[in-house]
Symmetry: C2
Subunit: 360 residues, 2 copies
């Protein structure tokens, strides 16, 4: 089979140029005489790789000097514990917005360690919208305010932040990091698993304001303290070296293609292609509130629910795979991360039109 258009929510499609570079360098990286996989993480050759990856990431997001960038392991799920253990230490309280499964997991994990207040939730309508942030009541004594900036499963995305009265904002950006410029200074902690917009699973990026890297109780495991990793520049123990290398190639690909301003334009174009078509027909239903629509994960269903399975099957036969919605919501989901080309989305829209015509 030729390479397909892969609409998987994660791990997900990567730029073909990046994969080709990785393949060509896999057995013998540049002039090193060995694979990146075989390099000591403390070697000169690997140091250059990780330092460039970090700097390119900093450049892409214009991360200010008062933030630390960490390349960790364990996924977002480990961050759900690390965040309260590290920055929920003062008042032992945090406030959350619940926009779906990932927020719920973060809330549930934080409750093990601190007091949790859910300020707003869209659970009443199957998480199909982002709650109105103008109505929430942020407690200035909260250690942090937490959001999932893009909900992969339901296809919603925050487009603004509330005034948190100085309370640090913590954002799980796993599924929309690097999809558009953001103002990092608006956040206390940003974290993201690599496997959507960055690279292979197994690496988690944490951007943390340096003043939040504080002392934590002795009972916190060493590997779960941000200070451990910050003090050792993500080299306290062997980092996920190959995942970082591939992510570094993705960062270079983004820079060469104009950075986040350029990718945001393309991401908007792709999302518009899909949403504009969805709005023009009643054959499909897009369940998410228009103002809350994600540009990364576009969810829709056939109005005639019996057709969803055929849609997914026929699309796959035409080289558009992993369009099945998350098992908890059903229907379809097109994940159109940075590496999904406009051509892939256009092909999907063309297929959707043809499928509609055939069944109308």
């Amino acid at each position: 089979m030729e390479r397909v258009y892969n609409f998987s929510a994660g791990p997900s499609t990567l730029p073909e140029e990046v994969l080709k570079t990785a393949a060509s360098e896999l057995v013998n990286y540049q002039d090193a005489g060995m694979s990146v996989m075989e390099m000591s993480h403390r070697s000169a050759a690997y140091s250059k790789i990780i330092e460039e990856a970090k700097q390119d990431f900093i450049d892409l997001l214009s991360i200010p000097d008062n933030y630390e960038v960490l390349f960790l392991q364990g996924g977002a799920s480990l961050q759900f514990a690390m965040i309260p253990l590290n920055i929920g230490t003062k008042n032992k309280k945090a406030q959350f917005i619940n926009t779906g499964a990932w927020s719920k997991k973060a809330i549930s994990e934080a409750k093990k360690f601190i007091d949790v207040e859910v300020l707003a939730s869209s659970e009443d309508d199957t998480f199909s919208y982002i709650p109105d942030l103008s109505k929430i009541d942020i407690d200035p004594n909260s250690d942090y305010f937490y959001i999932t900036s893009n909900n992969t499963i339901y296809g919603t995305e925050f487009t603004s932040l509330p005034d948190t009265k100085g309370v640090p904002v913590v954002a799980d950006m796993s599924s929309n990091i690097l999809s558009k410029p953001i103002n990092v200074s608006d956040y206390g902690i940003i974290f993201a698993g690599a496997q959507k917009n960055m690279g292979p699973a197994g690496m988690t990026v944490v951007i943390i304001r340096k003043d939040l890297i504080g002392e934590v109780p002795e009972t916190v495991p060493t590997m779960l303290k941000y200070s451990t990793h910050a003090e050792n520049d993500s080299m306290f123990n062997t980092p996920p070296t190959y995942s970082i290398y591939v992510a570094g190639l993705v960062f270079k690909w983004l820079k060469e293609n104009g950075g986040l301003e350029a990718i945001e334009k393309i991401n908007t174009e792709k999302a518009d292609l899909l949403y504009d078509y969805l709005d023009s027909t009643d054959f499909y239903v897009a369940p998410v509130d228009k103002a809350s629509r994600s540009k990364m994960n576009v969810t829709f269903i056939c109005k005639d629910d019996a057709l969803n399975a055929d849609f997914i099957k026929e699309a796959a036969a035409q080289g558009m795979v992993n369009l099945k919605g998350h098992r908890s919501v059903g229907g379809m989901r097109a994940s159109i991360y940075n590496a999904m080309p406009v051509e892939g989305v256009q092909k999907l829209v063309d297929f959707m039109k043809a499928f509609e015509a055939k069944h109308s």
Copy 2:
């Protein structure tokens, strides 16, 4: 530069055949139309990869049914916390043998959570030997008995276990797992980072006797509970999919080459080549006690300490790299894991002889 002989202690050399297979499949895996890196961890194609990797690993080590195999993240360093948090819960006590830096880290981390007793240590002689296990006094009320089965830095290796009176043995096998057959039933927990004998860094394998996967206090982070991963077959969250794939290729390579009996013979041949030569000369000194010598990491120094730097430099110029000893001990270290061919070790011995002749 052509591919070199890479004597790095970890991440370390991988079989060239495995790297070539990975390179050829990187952009488009078999008939999947995508890279393994891009596959949903819950897809049928990826399920086959992880299930085969797990089964091949079980086959190689003849792991009995009453053990669980977990593919985790975080390295051995995270296991240093997970072990006391999960199995140090009954009597809150464990006993350790201290054979070097990695044991010390495990001891230090365990002390955060439980009582620790060090039964024996070789620190009095720069960790150059494995303590006499016939003289230790194992407390039957200890929750576990802990060893580092091979010490990467100093080059020592356990060749036997004491009678622990039913106390589960926990072994950090990061640097000698899969190097020889072992009797898994002798252990409660075996764990190992992938980056020596298995594959790319970022994956940690845990073999745990099922009855040890018990209830833990609510305050233990979800990701640090073995039960979380055992109940979800290492898919509680996205596993390090690509690292597992490459490790799976290494497992297949081992099986195709005769499994652990065959690799043990080759590893013995390689170690003998080096140690026999070291024993035949006084130009070099092998500081480790003969009965405690590691077959994975062979440490030695030039008797004339001033020559070590030249040795390392000249060897590198001839395509034998990463022979520098760990920064804490100096001298040289040849890590000769499974993927180091006999030819690489023979070339090193030939170089050592020539270097000796030149400087005698």
